[in-house]
Symmetry: C2
Subunit: 302 residues, 2 copies
């Protein structure tokens, strides 16, 4: 028995109403659909535009999701902010709601900070939240955050907080980095890759699954590979996933994900992103949808 | 007559009490001292650890400064956050308090964003704040924020909001970039360099002054060069400023600034930084103070 995550999670895209306020109703429906596809909910990830939302906006959305009956055992909200006090506030709220995990960015404004400084930040967060049910998955995404976790820092955190620091999402895009973590074999530590492109490699090396942008639109197929990675067709499944991913990634990722949801649901409201992002143009969106349909892609039940 | 800034401003270092909460009383005293040295108050800059503070913490500090009678005509608080809604809330508060300017980072989590996206972000902030007294100084610091303002983007903003987008702090560390802005000669646009190392060059090219970390500890000498840049000894003044700056910058900047304030005021509480930064070790702090004293450096009246 374990209370730790494995499988496929989606950094759920955040819908906005016309004035750019978060659209809780659409988010609830999207989360329900993702759960129906066996995909967990890493709400407030990078692809959720989480860092374009205030802490209070995120707290309201979390409350709405829980009130709507979304299973907190399937929720791993992103709670890492620049400011210690913001991270503590949001993480404490997620823990109070009994979310099974939180996905935590390091503070990402100041660059070139030391392992000691990041360690101190996580120690402060853990001590201040002071909730035994807290489970932290480190969020390593140096291409965006520019601040990340060295393997040695992870080990320090795991040794100091073995029941709380329970996993990582590695969005470095560098398989060697992921593999270096897996090789350490920390006790029941869950290593997720940040893209399904590495899902098969991760499963073959003892990893826990993936938390991937594309799980917003292609959840069933990604979950199927997770479930059947030992089958003979695993490599061809991986190849099919990669084709869908590269089709979407030919466009700016977050606007493209939202455009895809809009195209396949028929709900144009999904197109809206918050600045500094820019909506995908309608012609590009149609082009993307056509390219996906051309590959037999669909989003059943959306 | 103009309501725009010129001269020397300090991104005022933020003191913390023992539990890492902001120390309003010490901040007020420090601001009073800086004003006595003819230096304006760019509170909540990078060197203020502003991005390690929540919006609410910044609002409380702003209120305390104004209640203490700090001249809002000398205040240019940093108000740019990752989330549109945070930037709007903090900027609206600063404008309501009649701060003469705000120094605004672009949203800095998402990388590789377009000029259109950053323009849209600023347009939203300006329209939502909806305060005619708002005056924005763009904060260009690509080495840290990793997101910045192209010269063309600045021009678009100035053309669209000529009374509101009134200046920039260029912390690119690239004089060619500063000079490219100066050459555009936008009407009464105030170009500040982000380091006093470029102060003389900036003044000779029509710039407005500097907003510099080191103005926290060496305000009088920096202001003196600003005031007398046309004098014969300007180059030697610049050289003396550079020597003090390089002495401090031999250590991690923010902990070193705070250690310097602690050493020269005798108030050890100033040493404390928030994670992810780490206090300067006592022996390094003493070494830095000795090196500064060796150059005849002092902080009179602190």
């Amino acid at each position: 028995m374990t209370d730790r995550f494995s499988g496929v999670l989606s950094p759920v895209v955040t819908p906005f109403v016309n004035d750019l306020g978060p659209d809780a109703d659409r988010l609830i429906a999207q989360c329900q659909w993702l759960l129906s596809q066996n995909v967990g909910l890493a709400v407030f990830g990078t692809n959720s535009e989480a860092n374009s939302l205030s802490v209070d906006e995120k707290i309201v959305l979390l409350d709405r999701l829980v009130e709507a009956g979304i299973d907190t055992n399937r929720m791993m909200p992103g709670t890492g902010c620049c400011a210690l006090t913001d991270t503590v506030k949001l993480t404490a709220h997620a823990a109070k709601l009994r979310c099974a995990g939180t996905l935590m960015l390091p503070p990402f404004y100041y660059k070139g900070v030391s392992d000691d400084g990041i360690f101190a930040n996580f120690a402060e967060v853990i001590e201040r939240v002071g909730n035994e049910s807290l489970r932290i998955y480190l969020y390593h995404i140096p291409p965006v955050a520019q601040v990340g976790f060295s393997t040695d820092l992870i080990e320090r955190l795991v040794i100091r907080y073995p029941k709380i620091i329970v996993g990582i999402k590695d969005s470095s895009g560098d398989w060697k980095n992921t593999f270096a973590m897996l090789e350490r074999k920390w006790d029941d530590f869950r290593v997720f890759v940040g893209s399904e492109s590495f899902l098969l490699a991760n499963m073959r090396s003892g990893g826990a699954g993936c938390i991937s942008a594309t799980a917003n639109v292609n959840p069933a197929a990604i979950y199927h590979l997770y479930q059947t990675w030992q089958d003979d067709d695993a490599d061809s499944q991986q190849q099919a996933l990669d084709e869908i991913r590269s089709t979407v990634m030919a466009y700016p990722m977050i606007p493209a994900l939202k455009a895809t949801v809009a195209e396949f649901s028929g709900d144009d409201q999904w197109r809206t992103v918050r600045p500094p992002l820019v909506n995908l143009a309608k012609d590009k969106s149609a082009e993307l949808a056509a390219a996906l349909r051309n590959k037999g892609f669909e989003m059943p039940g959306l």
